[in-house]
């Protein structure tokens, strides 16, 4: 089977990854809903995962793909904890708007 990379080209994967990452960054910066911020972080993570997978194939090295599994597992754990925190914030404050969360003020 012809390698899918040869048909599309490594640079396109990189472009896609960068676009996804930037979307994630802007999502984090501009959206105020904590859940959307979370989603944006997941987009950034997946942009990186994509890059890992792409380069792994490009270099004919399985390490990158193995690393993606770890990364996904960590992301899943992080999401679980993050959502739990959000639920508890919502119960306490009745909102998940990050603009209202000012209790960290030093």
């Amino acid at each position: 089977m012809d390698n899918i990379l040869n048909q599309i080209g490594i640079e396109n994967y990189i472009f896609l990854s960068v676009i996804l990452f930037c979307i994630g960054v802007f999502g984090v910066l501009y959206r105020r809903n904590a859940i959307v911020v979370f989603m944006s972080i997941e987009i950034m993570l997946n942009a990186i995962n994509l890059l890992f997978a792409a380069f792994s194939t490009y270099h004919q090295d399985a390490q990158g793909q193995i690393f993606v599994f770890f990364s996904m597992a960590v992301a899943a754990a992080e999401v679980a904890i993050g959502l739990a925190i959000l639920v508890s914030i919502f119960r306490n404050m009745g909102t998940i708007d990050v603009g209202n969360l000012k209790n960290l003020k030093g």
Partner: protein, 631 residues
């Protein structure tokens, strides 16, 4: 020789000190006095035992290695030889007598327990100084006796003048101690050891020694000695040290501590023998000190000041002998001087005690009848210090003068200076005796009413010391010198032939005796026959005013050293310190301001934090990206 015995010898006074300092107040004055005196008496008894059983060979006791760095090794040890035993004998012997005396003398003082504590501590440090086996051990004792001297001069600390005197003594001694330390450092780096025994073998076996550095080391050590033993130019602390209680003056500032410099030079005689130029300096400094101090003593009116300058003068004579390489002669004079000067000081203490604190000889007179024992003992001691045959001072002073004469018979400059100082000694001592004990009493009626002989605790030490001043010369008669034989193993070379008693020697003796008699005669004529009373302070004029004010040396030191330093310190306090504190405060303010500004960034808004985070990442990435173009 038993290690334990030496430890007891050393630690007995220290235990006395601990007892008096911690339990003394509760125990009561009698117990304090007995414990203090006994602890020193124990040391004296052990010293006597050591003396009786002493061998020719020095005994070295190493307790443990103190400092060891590669090949350089300093042990914590003791060296018991003829010199240290001799010094121990009169330190603990006279020390015991003076402790005994102090029981009565200090009985009315509320702080008697601290007095005895300090005295015991002094004896402890003095023993350390004397039996230390290396220069560093000696230095411990050296500093310790300085501390005790400071504490005891300022014993009556409620009087600010006394505190000043104590500080002066301490600071003057520090100057000397710096010299001593530098000397120790040079010796250590030259010979890789500070141990006396090793030093001696090293120096005797070494052929290619560096003369210049040895001379510098010897000079530095001598500067140390001038501080402790009150020689020119550091002598001014000793007369002021008379602010302390009289037993202290007798023990520390006449008999023992001030002889530490002579002890050190004698201990290191093999080193000084290699530096003839320094020896010349020592001899000249000694002779000058003897003369200068004697001239000042001529006109002093405070009974203790006369004795203090006399001490400085006698120490000068000892250094004269040391400078001429006649160590055993200096040691001889140290011993006889310890006897008669302690006796004189204790006698003056008895007089002061009888007059309830009066020290001015112009307010004394006619005490002969009221205080016969004090009078007779002081008279004997005065005859001894004046050098009248056959008392102790005659033999020792005569040997010094003979040595000075033989050092350069064609032009005996040092002999002339020493002789003049001796004649003056005879004069001022008998001036003291006549003014104090003869003619009629010049004090107040009330004092006259209370005149009394001191109790036996005071007179017994006086009598013992007077007897010793009388017969003390017997240890080193010319031709049959027990002392010279005893000390012989200490010295590498016999510096001078033992004086055979030829016509020159008899002539010198005759000159010395006649000189002393002339001095006494002048004093007799002036103060007994003519009954002259020294004029009041304001009426003193001419040369005697210069002498009375001690050549204005204190004032000169004040304007040359103290005042400029004060000006400098004012400058530093007024300007430099302000600038420095402005700098320090400024730094604090800047930090504070940065913190206040930085605090504003932490406004608690998560959105802002994230924004800052992203900006930061972008900046780092940009930097890393741009970096490749520049490296």
């Amino acid at each position: 020789m038993d290690t334990n015995l030496v430890l007891v010898l050393l630690l007995a006074p220290f235990l006395g000190f601990l007892f008096n300092v911690f339990l003394g107040k509760k125990a009561g004055k009698n117990v304090v006095g007995i414990v203090g005196t006994l602890s020193v008496a124990v040391s004296f008894a052990i010293t006597l035992y050591l003396f009786a059983n002493s061998s020719q060979e020095p005994v070295v006791i190493n307790l443990f290695d103190w400092i060891s760095i590669q090949r350089f090794n300093i042990s914590f040890g003791f060296l018991i030889d003829q010199l240290s035993i001799l010094w121990l004998l009169f330190v603990t012997g006279i020390g015991s007598l003076i402790h005994l005396y102090s029981i009565s003398y200090m009985h009315d003082d509320e702080k008697m327990h601290s007095f005895f504590a300090y005295l015991n501590l002094f004896i402890f440090f003095m023993i350390t100084l004397v039996i230390g086996s290396n220069l560093l051990m000696m230095f411990i004792g050296w500093e310790g006796v300085g501390l005790c001297s400071y504490l005891l001069i300022g014993f009556w600390y409620k009087n600010q003048d006394f505190n000043d005197a104590a500080k002066k003594a301490f600071i003057m001694n520090r100057i000397g101690d710096l010299g001593f330390l530098i000397g120790i450092f040079i010796v250590g780096s030259l010979f890789n050891t500070l141990d006396f025994t090793n030093l001696r073998t090293t120096i005797e076996s070494a052929k290619d020694v560096n003369d210049l550095w040895i001379a510098i080391a010897a000079l530095a050590l001598f500067i140390g000695a001038t501080g402790k033993s009150a020689q020119l130019p550091l002598y001014t602390w000793l007369p002021d040290a008379m602010a302390g209680p009289t037993p202290v003056s007798a023990l520390i500032h006449a008999a023992t501590m001030v002889t530490a410099g002579i002890f050190m030079l004698t201990r290191l005689n093999f080193l000084f023998d290699l530096a003839p130029s320094v020896q010349n300096i020592i001899a000249i400094v000694g002779a000058c000190t003897a003369l200068v101090a004697a001239t000042i003593a001529l006109v002093q009116n405070d009974i203790k000041k006369v004795l203090a300058y006399s001490t400085v003068s006698q120490l000068g004579l000892m250094f004269l002998a040391l400078g001429l390489g006649a160590y055993e002669v200096a040691v001889f004079h140290v011993i006889t001087h310890a006897f008669f000067k302690a006796c004189l000081f204790l006698g003056s203490g008895s007089v002061i005690h009888g007059l309830h604190g009066e020290q001015d000889m112009r307010r004394m007179g006619g005490l002969k009848k009221a205080m016969p024992i004090t009078f007779i003992t002081m008279l004997i001691a005065s005859l001894a210090i004046a050098g009248i045959f056959p008392l102790a001072g005659f033999w020792s002073k005569d040997e010094i003068l003979m040595t000075a004469f033989h050092a350069n018979p064609s032009f005996p400059f040092l002999w002339i200076v020493g002789s003049i100082a001796s004649i003056m000694t005879a004069f001022y001592m008998f001036r003291l005796i006549y003014l104090t004990f003869f003619n009629s009493f010049r004090g107040t009626e009330e004092q006259k009413h209370h005149l009394h002989e001191s109790p036996s605790l005071i007179t017994v030490p006086l009598i013992i010391l007077a007897i010793l001043s009388f017969v003390g010369g017997a240890i080193s008669l010319p031709g049959h010198s027990w002392l010279n034989d005893y000390l012989a193993p200490l010295f590498t070379k016999v510096a001078h032939e033992e004086h055979t008693l030829g016509s020159t020697e008899y002539m010198l003796m005759a000159i010395a005796t006649i000189g002393a008699l002339i001095g006494i005669g002048i004093a007799y004529k002036k103060y007994l026959k003519d009954n002259t009373i020294p004029s009041e302070d304001a009426e003193i004029t001419g040369l005697s005013k210069v002498l009375y004010n001690k050549y204005y040396v204190d004032e000169i030191y004040d304007s040359v050293f103290v005042k400029p330093i004060n000006v400098l310190s004012d400058l530093f306090r007024e300007h430099v310190e302000k600038a420095l504190s402005a700098l320090v405060f400024g730094l604090g303010k800047v930090t504070n301001e940065i913190a206040i500004q930085g605090k504003k960034a932490h406004n608690g808004s998560i959105g802002f934090y994230l924004f800052a985070f992203v900006i930061g990442v972008i900046v780092i990435l940009t930097y890393l990206f741009l970096q490749q173009f520049f490296i």
